[in-house]
């Protein structure tokens, strides 16, 4: 996390990359807080910070430490204390074929959701940027799904893929695909991916569109003079300028696919997780609340925490270097 990317605030696309990116970018290398003049008071800043710190301590640090601690213990199922078992919770989890299968599915699911929602969001943003008439209407109609909660999206998906009344089941039936969501593993996975992508398109659309609109007219005109092919102009001029936005969205979408899709999955598998695809987060929930396996669930939580950390660092170390900023 020490590798803080340096974005020039004046670069057109960079200004639209949003707060999430900003907090990564400015946080690590910036202990000074920018103001030349400041108040100094022995107690006031602590007073102002107290509510936030209290909540963070009670509801963030305490549970996080508990998760790490209980991942080394085996909880008695009847509540008669717990025994220290070292790392056996971890080895049990990592040796389990079921867990590895779920991890594999999570990877595929995340990659698919991220790729398709980014691609479709970008396509729609480019087209919306290209038309003049109806621009605002398209924008409104395309973004409102953003406000729908994931489980509600899941419910809509269940209806669309319903065995009796689902129009999408009939539609794919025309191509000879006998889709059985909830019964067939691959069909359920496909439906989950479609619903999760659908829910995320508006978010990517908003960011790509405002990224595109942040590109100065002079740059576009220069590109237009240099290059007649619209497709090449897009690849060589527009896309590199959108790279910071795309990079930011990559992180957001990965996090979305890993964590926020919980509601979609929970509604679509309807507690029958046995033959259905689930993600790692769902497994943590299943083991902790349905299976009452506190130690195993905590070990999985810690593994997830590590994955999140590694992903964040990986994205900054490697992808960041290939992103063109100016």
């Amino acid at each position: 996390m020490t590798h803080a990317p340096s974005l020039s605030p004046t670069s057109p696309a960079a200004t639209t990359t949003g707060g999430f990116f900003a907090r990564f970018r400015s946080a690590p290398s910036e202990p000074s807080f920018a103001k030349r003049v400041q108040f100094s008071s022995p107690y006031l800043p602590y007073l102002f910070l107290a509510p936030q710190m209290a909540i963070i301590f009670i509801f963030f640090y305490w549970p996080s430490v508990q998760a790490i601690q209980s991942s080394f213990y085996l909880e008695d199922p009847f509540g008669f204390g717990s025994t220290f078992v070292g790392t056996s919770n971890y080895t049990d989890v990592l040796k389990s074929g079921e867990y590895l299968g779920i991890a594999r599915f999570t990877a595929i699911f995340t990659a698919a959701v991220t790729f398709f929602s980014l691609a479709i969001g970008l396509l729609l943003a480019v087209k919306a940027d290209g038309v003049i008439r109806g621009n605002a209407t398209y924008k409104t109609l395309l973004i409102w799904v953003y406000a729908i909660a994931p489980p509600v999206a899941g419910l809509m998906g269940m209806m669309m893929f319903d065995q009796h009344i689902g129009p999408l089941v009939r539609f794919v039936g025309l191509f000879g695909w006998d889709m059985k969501v909830g019964l067939n593993y691959n069909d359920t996975a496909a439906a989950m991916i479609i619903v999760s992508v659908w829910k995320q398109i508006p978010y990517n659309f908003i960011f790509f569109l405002s990224g595109l609109q942040g590109i100065p007219v002079s740059v576009r005109e220069a590109a237009l003079m240099d290059c007649r092919s619209g497709f090449r102009r897009f690849w060589t001029v527009i896309l590199p300028l959108l790279a910071p936005t795309a990079f930011f969205l990559l992180i957001i979408n990965t996090t979305y696919a890993l964590f926020d899709t919980f509601g979609v999955i929970d509604v679509m598998v309807k507690d029958k997780a046995a033959n259905n695809p689930i993600t790692l987060v769902y497994k943590v929930y299943m083991d902790g609340f349905r299976g009452n396996d506190l130690g195993g669930s905590s070990a999985q939580s810690v593994i997830l925490m590590i994955i999140v950390f590694v992903l964040t660092i990986f994205q900054f170390r490697f992808i960041e270097r290939r992103v063109h900023y100016n």
Partner: protein
């Protein structure tokens, strides 16, 4: 050129069809009778039972204990959405104000402690969080529903970025005029932050309203169910019955999405601004 434009519109219309289609279908289908839907499938045309279905969903006492109505769930959702948004704005403005406008010893370490919360979403620490809530006896309370969700620093960072963009001259001028930290905050910072507060409120309200996992863990007492939390219960009842109440399920889904969708659409400009420009 003309053909390119037509093609653009074609792609956009496809997009609109995919994004809006399911919602239209849900709205229209919810106004038909369950048996009708079961026989004829989903519908694109309005049926005659709109008022009937929605009145029933809003006022009929349902759930396992038979005590929860749609109206009650809607009220709980509003409490969660508004409580969360207001709490978030209050907490994060104060914290960001302290971080930006004060010089104090532990600034860096406190800043880092807040920053770390962004790396670990609630979903990775659900079980221990639940245990903590149990220890504190906060399950099935509004406090337990709202306050733990505030333990993330998104708002603090939005406001920190924003405060940093406020010119230093304002503080200099205020100090010459003899304003202290409280006066400066209330008379200068709060009025300047109005747009920012509105934008954050919209984003956070939608976020709070749409919470699912945390309410699922926190509330077992049905009188605390939010609409989004109730969705799965509806599905469970629905799956068990002979002729599923598709219409009621759709009606509840519509109710669960109307307030956040309306807010996003009405305040679209603020919302997009808050989302994409909070960096500046």
């Amino acid at each position: 050129m003309q053909r390119v434009k037509l093609f653009n519109h074609f792609i956009l219309l496809m997009g609109v069809f995919i994004m809006v289609g399911p919602l239209v279908v849900a709205l229209m289908t919810s106004s038909h009778e369950a048996a009708d839907i079961h026989r004829n499938g989903l519908s694109l045309l309005p049926g005659g039972h709109f008022v009937e279905t929605y009145t029933k969903v809003l006022t009929k006492e349902g759930g396992f204990t038979g005590k929860i109505t749609g109206l009650r769930m809607m009220m709980n959702s509003l409490i969660l959405g508004i409580g969360f948004a207001v709490g978030k704005i209050a907490l994060s403005m104060l914290a960001a104000y302290a971080l930006v406008y004060f010089r104090f010893r532990f600034a860096t370490i406190l800043f880092w402690m807040i920053f770390t919360t962004l790396l670990l979403p609630l979903e990775v620490r659900i079980l221990p969080s639940y245990e903590v809530m149990n220890t504190l006896h906060l399950t099935n309370t509004y406090t337990g529903l709202i306050v733990p969700l505030l333990a993330s620093a998104t708002g603090t960072f939005y406001f920190r970025q924003f405060f940093k963009s406020i010119p230093d001259e304002l503080l200099e001028a205020a100090r010459i005029d003899g304003a202290g930290p409280f006066k400066f905050f209330i008379d200068v910072i709060v009025p300047l932050s109005k747009t920012m507060m509105a934008a954050i409120f919209i984003i956070m309200f939608v976020y709070g309203w749409n919470q699912y996992l945390w309410p699922t863990l926190m509330t077992t007492d049905e009188s605390f169910f939010t609409l989004v939390r109730g969705i799965k219960q509806i599905l469970l009842v629905w799956v068990g019955s002979n002729i599923p109440d598709y219409n009621e399920a759709f009606a509840l889904a519509i109710l669960a999405m109307v307030p956040p969708v309306m807010i996003v659409m009405i305040f679209q400009r603020w919302f997009i601004k808050g989302l994409t420009e909070s960096d500046k």
